[in-house]
Symmetry: C2
Subunit: 367 residues, 2 copies
């Protein structure tokens, strides 16, 4: 059980988040540097379970919004993050008592840790996605009826903007152009929740889940191959347990198109020996994988391309021709696969025509 | 002395504001309908002088932002205005005790009256421009060091946005694209002030000034021509006293270019008998007038084109070839002509190369 984020497990969180980022969510490496600095200076960050929240706790999100390509170049600033949260606190007339991640996949799992360290607040073991998704409204918070707004964004020049909108989609629509005008990468806070709301609407245990995944991949005193350790830790997890290596091979095709603030594209992986091919499609995050035309895993279930040797996740922007990879799939947290959830994060939300089917049922068909 | 806005003087306010709008600021006619309705239902709006404000009064602005052409088509809503002010009140943690206009020229002189009626609050006899200007930072509030932000805007769909920026210029830069995304016409509140700040930074007596101008133009029991009555009332005013008819004739040239949310252009007026010509340039508002190449009046002094018969101001968007007009110029409030003020509202701020010279000194040269 994880009770604190320390200098010992921050690297595990970065590696595990990268896996749960399913290709998107940005690279957590720079974020881990910021966390390391904050923890070294201010001490470990206490981790509390969702159940430990009291009804009237004030749970605030710390997050980054923008193009991952820009985020890599602009190191996050805790001060900017504070301005986003502070503006929201001032508007709501209440102070944060706990911090939570909006998405555990990618760099948005790191910023909240550094920010919680600065504020001396605990971080909640949970998040709103249990993975990464490309848009603000794609959260369990939204699925469970928590309003995205008021939402705040802050830039590195001392400016902040607060949105009080009728829908999460509208907040997304009005915030993206300002985020772009602010330099394509901003700090954000949204979905302010009471403890009671967070208990109901957050996906629990994803922070400890990410650390567990990262720890398994990194473990040096284990004779099994890193990918076998990865599959084993996923199978032992409450959500990600229907896990398997869907395909192994090398990247032989890659198409990427950056438009409207997202990276759309596809990736072909070919078997080393034999004619089999796996085909992936992504919008920042990997969405769907087919092998020789047969559906093997589809969003909201997780598809991640990992390095064949190290089992480290390879984000969409780092895919390259000739890489030797494994395509790993696993089941999504159950909160993401209800009929109501599929209206928000299901295949149709990404323009896919295929219906959602759990990875376990797709695997059964293969036998 | 004006102590209340009533059904009797609301029309005078509209006509006077139109003159002080110097061609821009939007048409106050629709706003006057809204005021009429509000006053009929809720009673007259008490007018208080700047001196009556106590130090800890909370003076809030009610205003519209957007393209005048769109504003004409979308009638203002008091509810939307309330959402803009309410968002600001909530963020600041204090309630408005008085309402003030940001600009007395054009439609922004009307909305605050209707809104004050709704809130049962007094309206201050003063504003931030003493005329109309095309941008948020061009106010006496800014000149006197009052911050433009926090600034709020609200649309007709229930969305509102709050900006906490380091400069008024930045607020303008970040608010315009969202205003455009919201439909090019939104309600706004900004420059929240204490009573002490408003006493120092507002231009006093401009609301009663506008009513006086409108009353003089409309008066039916006065044998003098409307334009003579207009010049007489301006000459009796504290600020606008250096007033004269600069030119009479008909419009023989007109260029208008709508870009970046403004109307840029020029207008040529030719004498009825003789070769003389007056040339005006505008950016929403009229900026400069020359007669046969000689400078006669330049911003921040006021230049308004009025109908030759009725003396009603003709806004930029209603100018038409062949109209018989008089070009009236008058001096600006002294708060707008200090060296510090000219850095904010002087000719260079509009890309003009001519330096500011008071209309009185330019007239003297003509003798």
């Amino acid at each position: 059980m994880v009770t604190a984020i320390t200098l010992d497990n921050i690297e595990h969180l970065a590696i595990g988040s990268s896996f749960l980022g399913t290709g998107g969510g940005g690279d957590p490496y720079l974020g881990s540097l910021l966390c390391r600095e904050a923890i070294a200076k201010l001490g470990p960050v206490r981790v509390i379970s969702v159940d430990e929240l009291s009804d009237d706790d004030n749970v605030f999100i710390a997050a980054a919004m923008g193009a991952p390509t820009v985020m890599i170049e602009k190191l996050f600033s805790i001060e900017d993050q504070h301005r986003a949260v502070e503006t929201l606190e001032r508007f709501l007339g209440r102070q944060a008592t706990a911090i939570i991640s909006a998405e555990i996949g990618g760099c948005n799992s790191m910023m909240p840790v550094a920010y919680a360290a600065m504020r001396g607040l605990p971080i909640v073991d949970g998040d709103g996605m249990g993975r990464a998704f490309p848009a603000l409204q794609m959260t369990s918070f939204n699925i469970e009826g928590v309003a995205c707004a008021p939402l705040t964004i802050a830039d590195e020049h001392g400016n902040s903007v607060l949105y009080q909108t009728t829908t999460g989609l509208k907040a997304e629509e009005l915030a993206r152009p300002v985020a772009a005008a602010m330099g394509a990468s901003v700090c954000m806070s949204c979905y302010p929740m009471t403890g009671a709301e967070a208990r109901r609407a957050a996906i629990p245990k994803t922070l400890s889940g990410a650390i567990g995944i990262g720890e398994a991949i990194s473990r040096s005193n284990d004779p099994r191959a890193p990918i076998d350790r990865l599959i084993a830790v996923l199978r032992a997890h409450d959500y990600y347990k229907d896990a398997e290596v869907i395909f192994r091979g090398k990247i032989t095709g890659l198409e990427r198109d950056t438009s409207k603030g997202w990276v759309f594209g596809s990736c072909t992986v070919s078997a080393m020996n034999g004619p089999e091919q796996a085909e992936l499609k992504f919008q920042n995050e990997n969405l769907i994988v087919t092998v020789d035309g047969r559906l093997r895993c589809i969003v909201p279930d997780l598809v991640t391309i990992v390095d064949a040797e190290t089992a480290h996740a390879i984000p969409t922007e780092r895919l390259a021709y000739g890489q030797r990879v494994a395509v790993v799939g696993c089941s999504a947290p159950p909160m993401l696969t209800t009929p109501r959830a599929l209206d928000v994060v299901g295949p149709a939300c990404f323009g896919l025509t295929e219906s959602y089917r759990p990875i376990a049922s797709l695997s059964k068909d293969m036998i």
